[in-house]
C-alpha cells in the first residue's frame, strides 16, 4: 500500500488502476515483457492465469502461454523455457505449490531466474480454499527467494523487483512473490502501474544465466557424486545469503525511479514501543490500525512487517526489535510437532540465539484457514502481551488464538 509520503513523490508517472493482487501480478508480468507463461488454474490464484491469457490474447503481452496439465508441469515448462534464455513466469497456490515441491528444489539448484507468484492458501486435508500461509512456509527450504507482499501495489512492484533480483548475476535464483489468498488476491485496490518502459529503465532484458545454446552447447541438470554435490549446495546457500543486498538495492533503485519502496522489513510506531506484533502480508495494515487504537489506551505498542522471508533478514530484524520487551510473532501456519509452533517465530528465535539484548518471543498462531481476525482481535493480542509483560508471564508454547474452546 502506498504511504502518503510515497504518493507525493515527483517520480510518479504510472497509470492508476483498480486491481486485485492477482490482476496486479498479471499486469506486472505484462509490463516485464515476459516471454513464456505456464500456469495451471488453482483457487485463489486463477485470476492471474485468466488475466494473462487475456493480455496475451489481445496482444498486450507478446508471449507464449503453455496450458499445462498440472502445476508440476507448469514449473517444469518454465524451467525448460528459462533454460533456453526466455524470461518466464508461473503462478500457483496451496496444493499446486505443494505439487511443485520437487521442482522448486530443481529450479534453485539449476540456478534459473524463474519468477512465480503465490496467492497463499491453506493446505488439505480437510480442504480449505481460504487463506493462511501453510503453503509457502512448507517451501522454506527450497532455496527460493521469498517475498511476502502486503498489498496489490506491493505485489505489482515486487514482481518487477523479482526479475531484477533473480536475473542479477550474483544471485541467479528463483523468486517467489506471495500475498494473502482472497484477502489480497481478490481485493480490489488502487494500483499505480509503471508501464512497459520498466523494461528499458529497470529490468532490461539480458540473459545473465547459463542457457542451452546450439552454438555453445552445455549439459544442464547433471548427476554428481559425493565428491561434487556439496559445493553446488554451498554455492546456492551463499548466493541466497548474498541476495539480501541485491534485494535491498533493487528496492532502492525502484524507489529512485518510481517513488515506491518497501525495504526488507518495515516497522510502525516501533521506536518507543515496548511490545510489538510481527506479521506478514495483509495483517500488517490491519495491525497498524490496531496499534493506533491500542496506543489510545496508553499501550506502548508497535507493529512489524516481515517482507523478505527467504533469505531470512536476521540483522535487519534484530536492529528493529532489540529494544523491545516482548515481540509477538503471528504465524498463519503450523510447524507441526515443534514448540513453539509458528515457523516464523522459530526462525526469529534461532536468529536471536547469540544476541545479548533481545525481547521475549511469544509465538501466536492465528488466521488458520482464514479464521476471522478483526481489528479488535489484534488489539486484544496487544493487551494480552502488555499484561504478560507486566506480570512476567509467558507461554513457551504458541498461543493458538481463535481456536474454539481455547481462551486467552
Amino acid at each position: 500500500m502506498i504511504s502518503e509520503k510515497k504518493l507525493n513523490s515527483k517520480q510518479r508517472k504510472g497509470e492508476v488502476k483498480p486491481l486485485n493482487s492477482n490482476e496486479a501480478v498479471a499486469e506486472a508480468v505484462k509490463d516485464a515483457d515476459v516471454d513464456v507463461v505456464a500456469a495451471y488454474p488453482i483457487t485463489p490464484q486463477t485470476i492471474v492465469v485468466e488475466t494473462l491469457a487475456e493480455l496475451i490474447g489481445n496482444g498486450e503481452l507478446n508471449a507464449e502461454m503453455i496450458h499445462v496439465e498440472s502445476e508440476h508441469s507448469a514449473l517444469s515448462a518454465v524451467i525448460g523455457a528459462s533454460a533456453v534464455g526466455a524470461r518466464v513466469f508461473t503462478a500457483t497456490a496451496s496444493q499446486g505449490l505443494a505439487l511443485m515441491h520437487e521442482v522448486l528444489h530443481i529450479t534453485s539448484g539449476l540456478r534459473l531466474p524463474v519468477v512465480m507468484s503465490v496467492a497463499m492458501r491453506a493446505l488439505s486435508a480437510p480442504i480449505s480454499i481460504f487463506n493462511d500461509q501453510s503453503d509457502i512456509m512448507n517451501q522454506r527450504n527450497t532455496g527460493w527467494i521469498t517475498i511476502i507482499a502486503s498489498s496489490a501495489q506491493e505485489a505489482y512492484d515486487s514482481i518487477l523487483q523479482a526479475y531484477k533480483i533473480a536475473e542479477n548475476p550474483k544471485v541467479l535464483l528463483p523468486v517467489m512473490v506471495s500475498y494473502d489468498g482472497y484477502v489480497l488476491s481478490h481485493t480490489i485496490e488502487r494500483v499505480e502501474t509503471v508501464g512497459k518502459s520498466v523494461v528499458e529503465e529497470y529490468i532490461p532484458k539480458k540473459v545473465t544465466w547459463n542457457t542451452l545454446d546450439v552454438k555453445d552447447p552445455i549439459t544442464m541438470g547433471t548427476i554428481t557424486s559425493p565428491e561434487y554435490y556439496y559445493e553446488f549446495k554451498y554455492a546456492q546457500e551463499r548466493a541466497l545469503e548474498e541476495s539480501l543486498s541485491v534485494i535491498k538495492s533493487a528496492d532502492e533503485e525502484f524507489e529512485r525511479l518510481y517513488g515506491r519502496s518497501y525495504g526488507i522489513i518495515e516497522g510502525y510506531k516501533i521506536e518507543d514501543a515496548e511490545v510489538a506484533l510481527l506479521a506478514t502480508s495483509s495483517y500488517y495494515t490491519n495491525l497498524k490500525v490496531a496499534t493506533d487504537l491500542a496506543r489510545k489506551e496508553g499501550l506502548k505498542v508497535g507493529t512489524i512487517k516481515l517482507r523478505v522471508f527467504r533469505p531470512f533478514p536476521r540483522e535487519e530484524l534484530y536492529s528493529m526489535i532489540k529494544d523491545l520487551q516482548v515481540l509477538g510473532v503471528i504465524d498463519r501456519a503450523i510447524a507441526f510437532g515443534q514448540k513453539p509452533s509458528g515457523p516464523i517465530a522459530n526462525d526469529i528465535a534461532s536468529a536471536l540465539q547469540y544476541k545479548k539484548d533481545k525481547p521475549i518471543i511469544q509465538s501466536i498462531i492465528a488466521g488458520i484457514g482464514q479464521r476471522r481476525m478483526l481489528i479488535e482481535d489484534f488489539v486484544k493480542l496487544y493487551r494480552m502481551l502488555v499484561k504478560n509483560m507486566n506480570e512476567k508471564k509467558f507461554y513457551e508454547e504458541s498461543i493458538f488464538y481463535g481456536v474454539k474452546g481455547i481462551e486467552f
Partner: protein, 198 residues
C-alpha cells in the same frame, strides 16, 4: 441532502457491507464503488467475503473508501457505516451478518414499506437512515432478470454521494462490455434517480 450525509462523508474511511446471494453481483457492486472512487483519485478497496461463490448462497462483499489517499486495512466489515441489502429474501436474516454502527445507514431492496422492513429486519436503526427500494420492478423492466447489484449501486451513490454518477457509469461500462454495460448503466441511473427525487 440527507441529514447524515455531512458527517458520514467526513469520515476518514467509509465502510460499506453488501449482502446478496451468489449470482446477484454483491461483489461487483462493491467493486464498482471502489473502482469509481479510485478513478476519482480517492483510495478504496473492495473485498469479497466468499471465495467459492455458488448461486444462491448468501454472499457478503465490503467496500472501504477514503477520500484521501490513506492506507486502508483489509479486515471484513462487520459493523458498517452503510449496509446494502441486495436480496429481499435476506431481509430477516441480515442481522446475522452485520452489526450496524450507530448512525448507520441501511439501503434495502424490498417491496415492503419502510416501517414493515425495519420491523422484519429487526435491527437498531434510525428511521431517517433507512431506505427501501423495490429493485425488482426496475431491473425486470430493463434487464429482464432479477440481478439487483447495479440498481443498488445507483441507489447507494444517491444516498451516499462519495463518488459521482458519471464515474460509476464509466466503471460499469468497463466491467460489462457492450450492450450489457449500457443496460446496467441505465439501471444505475434508475436506482440513482429513485432517491434523488426525494
Amino acid at each position: 441532502m440527507y441529514p447524515f450525509q455531512e458527517e458520514l462523508l467526513n469520515k476518514d474511511i467509509i465502510e460499506v457491507t453488501w449482502l446478496g446471494r451468489g449470482g446477484q453481483g454483491a461483489v461487483t457492486a462493491s467493486e464498482l464503488v471502489a473502482m469509481s472512487a479510485i478513478k476519482e483519485g480517492k483510495n478504496a478497496i473492495a473485498i469479497p467475503e466468499f471465495g467459492a461463490e455458488r448461486r444462491g448462497v448468501p454472499v457478503r462483499a465490503y467496500t472501504r473508501v477514503s477520500k484521501e489517499l490513506k492506507e486502508i486495512h483489509k479486515t471484513p466489515i462487520v459493523n458498517p457505516d452503510i449496509f446494502v441489502l441486495l436480496d429481499p429474501s435476506l431481509l430477516s436474516k441480515a442481522k446475522n451478518y452485520i452489526d450496524l454502527k450507530d448512525d448507520g445507514v441501511v439501503i434495502a431492496n424490498t417491496q415492503l414499506s419502510k416501517d414493515e422492513a425495519i420491523k422484519v429486519m429487526g435491527i437498531k436503526v434510525k428511521e431517517e437512515n433507512f431506505f427501501v427500494i423495490d429493485a425488482k420492478s426496475i431491473v425486470m423492466r430493463i434487464l429482464g432478470r432479477p440481478i439487483y447489484n447495479t440498481v443498488m449501486v445507483g441507489a447507494f451513490i444517491a444516498i451516499v454521494p462519495i463518488v459521482k454518477l458519471e464515474t460509476v457509469l464509466e466503471s460499469v461500462r468497463e466491467t460489462f462490455k457492450g450492450k450489457l454495460g449500457d443496460l446496467n448503466a441505465q439501471v444505475i441511473e434508475e436506482g440513482y434517480k429513485h432517491f434523488l427525487k426525494k
